[in-house]
Structures are given as structure tokens and as C-alpha cells.
């Protein structure tokens, strides 16, 4: 008991205006079971009272995949020899869907959990993080679809496939960076609710989902400045990375573009966390 008492005396919780707790990340870790439970809740609830239930988890990515394949085929984007177009498209659609759902989920995670924010204390970052976890579960299901497609085309990826988790992480960094930023803005300005669908809709056209980065970097008609702008999109590195992981040397990474894109992701995450932490203490007041 004495030890506990002295411990408490040395380390009380301080409540003061703007006091940023040094134990924030420790708290976040302590609330990891809440994170898991919130994700579990979202998954459990999503398909309640639907007629075909979990089948939606398969149908949605399949439909998107079909649409993307059709667009790519229509505009005749480059497909390296020996790679089925559908796999090329899947390698981009899957991470894009992951990004879109993680971004969308985390951006609205605070305003959909208003009751929790105004009544319970926990590190607020638990909410966007839990939605990212939900997206990962969706992604796992989509990955099974990809495996089936590869089996159907009797396609076997090279050792580069082991790098896939790295690019997966990169997609989450990009989604979380943008998501944290918009989530915090959403608390005060509900305008950003309408920005998210726009970014996702528009984003798919500037991201190599229906086409491939080779079409951009290899096209001499596109000015360097535009290529740089293109590379500033964090998802470019993710999708190029995914394609590299699946198809290896057939689709080599364009390094300057890749590094620019990764840097953009990290900057976005840094800014997102900073803004989130700075405004977090006022969430319960303004939401």
C-alpha cells in the first residue's frame, strides 16, 4: 500500500487548462481493448437487419473491381505482358478501397460517437483508430478475393509479395493522417462532412487505380511539375508499391515519385496528429 501511495503522490493526474498529459500515448495503449471493442461493435452492427448479411463484404469490392477493370479496358491503359488486367486493377482497387473506407470512417468517427465523447473520458484517438481497424477487416476479406482471382489466372507472385505489409502500413498512414485532420475539423465545422466524399470521388481519378503510374512517369508529354504534383498524392506510392509487391520487376517502382509520395504521407500524418492533439481537449465542448 505504501508503495502505491507514494507512487500516487509522485504521479498525480493534473487537470489544468491546456495541460497536455505526458501519459497520452500510455493512456492510448491502456485503452487498446476499447479500441478493439469499438471496431468489433462496428463490424457486428453493420450487417444486422440486412437480408444477405456478410455477403455485402464480398459484393462491394467485387463490384468496384468490375467497374475499374471496365474503365481501364475502355481507355486502353498499359498492361505489361503476362499480367491479367483484372489483377493489375485489383492490386490498385484493394488498397484504394482500404484507404477510402479508413479515411471516410476515421473522418466521421468523432461525430458519430458524440455521446461517448461528451460522457466518457478516453484518448479520443481511439475512435479514428478503431475505424481503421474495421477497414482492415474489410481489406482482409478483399484479399481473399484477390487470392481467388490469382488462382483463377494461375498467377504466382514473386518474393516481392513479402513487402506487401509495408505498403499496407503506408496506406493506413495516409488514411489516418488525412482522417485525423478531417475528424478534428469536423467537430467544429460540419462542412468537412461533405468534403470527404468529394476527396474520395475525385481521388480515384488522380490515383493510378484504373491506369498505372508508368502511364504518367513514362509520358514525355506531361511536364515535370505535373509529375511532381502527381507524386504528392500519398496513395500513388501505396498503389505503386502494391503492384510492385504483386508483379515485381514487371512493374518497377519509380523511386523519385515513390519517395515524394511517402514523404507526403508522413507529413500528412504528422500534421493530422498535431492538429488532432491540439484540438482534442475541446471536443466535448464543441461537438
Amino acid at each position: 500500500m505504501a508503495i502505491i501511495a507514494s507512487d500516487r503522490m509522485r504521479d498525480p493526474i493534473i487537470i489544468a487548462p491546456g495541460a497536455t498529459s505526458g501519459r497520452y500515448w500510455r493512456d492510448l495503449f491502456r485503452f487498446r481493448s476499447l479500441l478493439g471493442f469499438l471496431a468489433w461493435r462496428d463490424v457486428m452492427v453493420r450487417y444486422k437487419q440486412t437480408a444477405i448479411g456478410v455477403s455485402w463484404a464480398v459484393i462491394r469490392p467485387l463490384l468496384t473491381l468490375g467497374a475499374m477493370w471496365f474503365v481501364g479496358w475502355l481507355f486502353g491503359s498499359t498492361v505489361p505482358k503476362g499480367i491479367p488486367r483484372i489483377l493489375l486493377v485489383a492490386a490498385a482497387t484493394l488498397p484504394w478501397q482500404l484507404f477510402a473506407s479508413a479515411f471516410d470512417g476515421s473522418a466521421s468517427s468523432l461525430i458519430t460517437n458524440t455521446n461517448l465523447i461528451t460522457k466518457v473520458f478516453f484518448p479520443r484517438m481511439v475512435l479514428p483508430l478503431s475505424t481503421v481497424l474495421v477497414s482492415l477487416i474489410d481489406f482482409a476479406i478483399a484479399l481473399v478475393i484477390l487470392l481467388v482471382l490469382m488462382l483463377l489466372h494461375a498467377y504466382l507472385p514473386g518474393p516481392e509479395v513479402l513487402l506487401m505489409p509495408v505498403f499496407l502500413l503506408l496506406a493506413l498512414v495516409a488514411a489516418l493522417g488525412a482522417g485525423l485532420f478531417i475528424a478534428a475539423l469536423n467537430v467544429k465545422y460540419r462542412d468537412f462532412r461533405y468534403v470527404v466524399p468529394f476527396i474520395i470521388q475525385f481521388g480515384v481519378y488522380v490515383t493510378p487505380v484504373a491506369f498505372s503510374s508508368q502511364d504518367i512517369y513514362g509520358n514525355a508529354a506531361i511536364p515535370e511539375a505535373m509529375k511532381f504534383l502527381y507524386a504528392c498524392n500519398p496513395m500513388v506510392a501505396v498503389i505503386d508499391g502494391f503492384r510492385f509487391a504483386l508483379f515485381g520487376g514487371d512493374l518497377p517502382i519509380h523511386w523519385p515519385g515513390f519517395i515524394t509520395s511517402v514523404a507526403a504521407s508522413l507529413v500528412l500524418l504528422g500534421l493530422g496528429i498535431r492538429y488532432f492533439r491540439r484540438t482534442e481537449k475541446g471536443f466535448a465542448d464543441t461537438i
Partner: protein, 415 residues
Amino acid sequence: MSVPIITAEGLGKKFILHHQQRERYTALRDVIGIKARSLIGRRPTGGSSREFWALKDLSFTIDEGDRVGIVGRNGAGKSTLLKVLSRIVDPTEGRAEIRGRLASLLEVGTGFHPELSGRENIYLNGAILGMSRFEITAKFDEIVDFAEVERFLDTPVKRYSSGMYVRLAFAVAAHLEPEILVVDEVLAVGDAEFQRKCIGKMKEVSSGGRTVLFVSHNMAAIQNLCTSAMYLSHGRLVMKGATHEVVSEYLRSAEKGAEVHLADRPDRQGNGMVRFTDFSLEDERGGPLASAQTGSAVVFRFDLIAQPGKLKNLHLAMGIDDVHGQRILHLSNETTGEIFPDATGCSRVSVHMPRCPLTPGSYGFTLFSRVNGEIADYIFNAGIFHVEAGDFFGTGRLPESDQGAFVTAHHFTIS
């Protein structure tokens, strides 16, 4: 020497009230508009917002094992204080130190999801309140037992009755094991049986040496549960001390709501030898009360004006009616045998009731006086007064509101 488990120094919380704003959040359009106006040198059309201090200069300490009741009118800052201590909102000024794990229950059933089953919600709610999966599993049976929902564990809670819902929600929170438990007005929901269980559980919690902060409008519960109390008014700490002193101070100073002016009432009968002018409630020491309290002393005070001259054989009576207008009590100096053969110079009548037997609620009253055999003043339905819950039996329990208008001392034996 023990260090207080909670220390607060000058805590304050300011809100900005926007009068014409329907939603609390801002639209970007407004911000851009204001910025644009200030760019061209015009000040934003202000005046529609003003500051409001929900808490101001709040300093106190709470020792380990204390059970502290927080009383005050609606809007006095009770809930804001709990939110600040729970770290849900940031204070605007001041500082507090908390030396232990704090769990708060500000609302029953926060985070319950209607589509999930009882079992699933126990885990979810436990996690929201800060329990680990292991802790919840260890407590699971106890929680189910307390909530009495074993048969419905796998039913979605949207199909629960409101009573079951509330029981389950409280059960999860009650099985938290924090060093400091913060509970807002949660007893307002649920029936008497549920409230009894809740208070019992909270006593059990604090008998283990844990600290409890408890907000309630139920004075019986506060008196029964708490070892000390704080009285907040307009965000400031008015008084902190022993529970019964704080509660009676609160009831006394709460409002002047109990005064009824009778001087100008036209609907009266009698020859006017005496006329009732005012009615109010007082405690034994003559301090004003806003309402009577079951089990506590109350004095019904009447001011009156008598015509000059002798006032012989003054007879006074007060009839008390329930909300349905049913006469339930008749207080009279004839029945008590306190006759006043000569009441000359009398300007005040006090009816003393050492332990108010009325159960919480509103009551109407009728006044009657007779001087020397003739009706002097008679006001039918003169006014109403209120009775708040109090700890009549020393158990913190009163019958349910539909179980009679009175309580009386009694005991049971079995053989």
C-alpha cells in the same frame, strides 16, 4: 499525514453562449464571413454571444474514502464539475490533481448499442468505462446477477424494457473497481427497487475504502450515502461540510419558492377579525425553507393582521390536500388542545411538525380561523407547498410514490 485524493484549486469553466445559433458547431461559412468583415474593417456583428461561467473559483479537497454528495439546483455546475474531474472537458482556469484511478458514470448506458445483445453490450460498455476484457469476464456473472437479465442475455437490448436496460447499464458501471467513483444523477431513472439496489451497491463500493462523488437531487439518497457534501450555486462552492448541515442549508436557501402571499386574495370568507397575509415554510430555528422534507422538522408559518381590539378564543386550522384535492390531513389547535383565550397582538402563527410524515410531492392547503366563535378568515385552496424526499427511517428508503401520502414510524416482528 495523508494527501487528499482530489485537490482542486480555483477551478473555473467558461462557456460562450451564442444566442442565435441553433447548433453548437460552427459553419465554416460563418467564420469566413466574420473574417471577411473584419478584413474590410467592420467588426463582426457581435452582441449575440456572452460569457457564462459554469464553474468559478472552485477549491476543495477530498480525502481517500470520503463519500461526497454534491447538491445544487439545475444549472449550478454539478455536472460540469464532474466532467472536469473526469477529464471529459478542459477547465478554463485553475487546476486539479487526482491521485488514483477515476471512473465516472455520468449517464446510464452510454455507448450501449441497441442492435447488440445484452451479453455483447456488457463487454462493450465495460470497455468504454475502462475495464479490460479480463476484468469484465471475471465480473460477468455478478453483473448479470445484479441486473437480473440472465434470460435475455442474447436478446438485442433494443427489445429490453426500459427497466431492464437501466439495470443492465448500472450493473456494468457498479462493478468497476476504481479508486474514485464519480456518479451523476443516475438514480432519477429506474424504480424504487432499482434505486435501493444502486444505493446499496454504492455503499458497498465505498466501504472498501474507495472514494465516491455523487450528484443527486434525491436528498434521501445523499443523506443516506454520503459522509460529507458540497453545495454548489451558480458555479460556486457555497458550502462544504457534514451532509445534514449542507443539505439543510441547501433546502433552506434554495429559493423563496415556498412563500405564498395571501393579503390580496379576494376569494375569502369571514368577518375579517384576522386576515392571513403570508405563508412560508421554516425550519425549527426560523430559517426559511423552499420545501419541507420527509422526516425533518418543518414549521408552517402564517403572518396575519388582526383588527384592533381584543382577540378572544382564537381558533386556527390548516387543511392539507393531496394533488387530487383529497383532504388528507387536518391540523387544528382545537384538536391539539392549545386554546388561545386571549390572542391580542398576535401577528404570526406557527404550526410545528417535528418529523414531516408527508411523502415527496406537492400539497395544497386551506386556511381557516375563528375568533370568538365566528369565522374570521377562510381561504379555500390558499396555496401549495412541496415536500422533498428525506431519510425518515434512517435507511435512505421511502415507499414508492404511489404507495401512500404518509410515512410513520413502525417496526416489524416475526414469531
